[in-house]
Subunit: 190 residues, 4 copies
DNA sequence: TATGAATGAGCATTCATTCAT
DNA sequence: AATGAATGAATGCTCATTCAT
């Protein structure tokens, strides 16, 4: 009748996510995380080597979650523009509906953690988005620009909008979302 | 023949900027900042009320620096497109040539500090960029979208590119820069 | 076989009492207290919210100790004079045998802590001593003076003597003690 | 037309007295004292070797002030009782009218400073009060008790009353003052 | 396996004192 | 003589991590 092994691990992850998102990594004592997860302080260290390791694990989890959301309702044979918009809408919706996750990621990528991670990746010509860009370039539908540039053009605006929306300085409606993605498309299309 | 009164203050600011950029706010002991600035620990507190106050001052300084750079070589009567590209190029160049400043700002805007600041501003229909958008919309050259959206479309990509460049995952040449800004313009133009 | 839960708390209290008494509140680093109590610095903060809180707790403890000593061997139906002398002898003996406690209290009542406490109390017509005075006044055995005056007349000398004795400038024998309390009685009796 | 040498010294002493009385020795930065005295921080160290030295000097000043007040209106040939009451009234009035001085002394005598001083003195059979006691004992008007005991009996109540009055927990009228001193006399008289 | 009491290194901040001007 | 900017030792408190139970 006890919680299963994985239950505690994920209880810790869930608690940590929320607390990190709200307080920042450095204002989130492990003791507080343990408390919210309803486990002992020491228990965290049975599942994670250190606080840093916990943060890393959280990031991995999120990366996978996003990956799994990316291609929802993206028919392989749909036109490139449609797929482009669909993919970005997927991410945008995910982030808006999961503000803790968004805040966590923003912090993560602005910390020594994220910096490292990015350096490791670098040449990630493997993501669905990268593939889409390749395809579009070959078909001469998308501008022949380096992948990071296309990524910046299409993804940068998404992040900015989500940030504004979550901070409450701007209300992102379904309508505006689609118009924006459409404009984003104008940037990358030929 | 000694350092002038302001010298110490700016030595502290310079040292702090660099250390904050490299280690993050929370891994930057005031003692380390003092050491790098070649002043006593206590001296920091003659010029700044607290570490937070130092961070704030640094932000104010940067804000002004950026503001002063924004309109370089932007002839008032130039076409909107040209002014748009010029302004973004100014910021982009500034950030690329001042990586410490960029890293500091990234952190700042992902911390309680930046959040607060943003909330205060919010309705910033006063920046040169906002004015340019207004003008463009009136002249039916720029899409009739809310200012935050236009801002996201044009500014988001810039930030992403600078980040990549500074992290070393991508080398941003003058050429690519201009092509990117041109694509950015495609996103906001009618 | 290890120390019980309360052991550490009281080890801290004991160490703190002694160090405060000898060095004063402000010359008693928490680190020194921890060292003497043979616990880690941080441990103090598991039992007390702050150094101030520790001081407060120490005072509460002492107040109770004194209260429990006050009425030793004070038969309820003994003559008022006898009870008066007995009570004062009890306190006097307690203070002389517990010089750390005495020095602590002297400091406490000359600090913001003590001042506050006194203001809260003020109308303490509840102590055994106050009751004794009331009774004595009614029976026209004790002068009809305000309670603070009677308190000053009987308690002031006690404190002065203890101070002298503990400072070593005067040796308080059992004999002198009783003579003094008898003289003190002369001051309050009709 | 500049302040004379002594002016600065006494400005510092006056400022220090007030600040010490209000904030305690340890919450009274020398910089604050200097500010209130309208001198530079460093100037304090031209007149006093250290903060401790300043405290010591303040005490010496006060001791002398009290000494000079002690024998006001005390006719040498008046009866012992009258002189006893007069002397105590003098001190009591001085302390009540000079609360800063009182608070300073209370602190002083409960700090390492005061403790030392007392140990040095010890056998002070030289004060006017001590002489009065000697005389009274010889004339068999005052109880034959050691001087510290007589001192405690007569002086202890005075201090307690002043403390209550200054703390505001009790209003000491001229009337009560005299009644109290009269009761105090009952304690020491044969 | 899970716990949480204990630890102590680490940090922001204060302030007595010095010394160049 | 007077100043006050500069100093850095000292201190209260936090929190990641360990380990005995």
């Amino acid at each position: 009748m006890e919680a299963s092994k994985t239950d505690k691990r994920s209880a810790i992850l869930t608690a940590a996510l929320e607390i990190f998102a709200e307080n920042g990594f450095h204002n989130s004592p492990t003791s507080l995380i343990a408390q919210k997860a309803e486990v002992g302080t020491g228990t965290i260290y049975r599942y994670f080597e250190s606080k840093d390791d916990l943060i890393e694990a959280l990031h991995q989890d999120l990366e996978q979650k996003i990956h799994s959301v990316l291609l929802n309702n993206v028919p392989e044979n749909a036109p490139i523009r449609e797929r482009f918009i669909r993919i970005h809408a997927n991410i945008l919706n995910f982030l808006i509906n999961n503000p803790f996750e968004f805040k966590f990621l923003e912090q993560y990528f602005n910390s020594p953690f994220g910096i490292e991670k990015k350096r490791e990746k670098a040449s990630g010509c493997d993501s669905p988005l990268a593939l889409l860009f390749c395809e579009g370039i070959q078909q001469q539908i998308i501008k022949d620009l380096p992948e990071p540039v296309l990524f910046a053009l299409s993804f940068g605006p998404v992040i900015f909008l989500v940030r504004d929306h979550i901070q409450g300085s701007f209300n992102l409606t379904e309508d505006i979302m689609l118009t924006t993605l459409s404009a984003s498309w104008d940037a990358v299309k030929r």
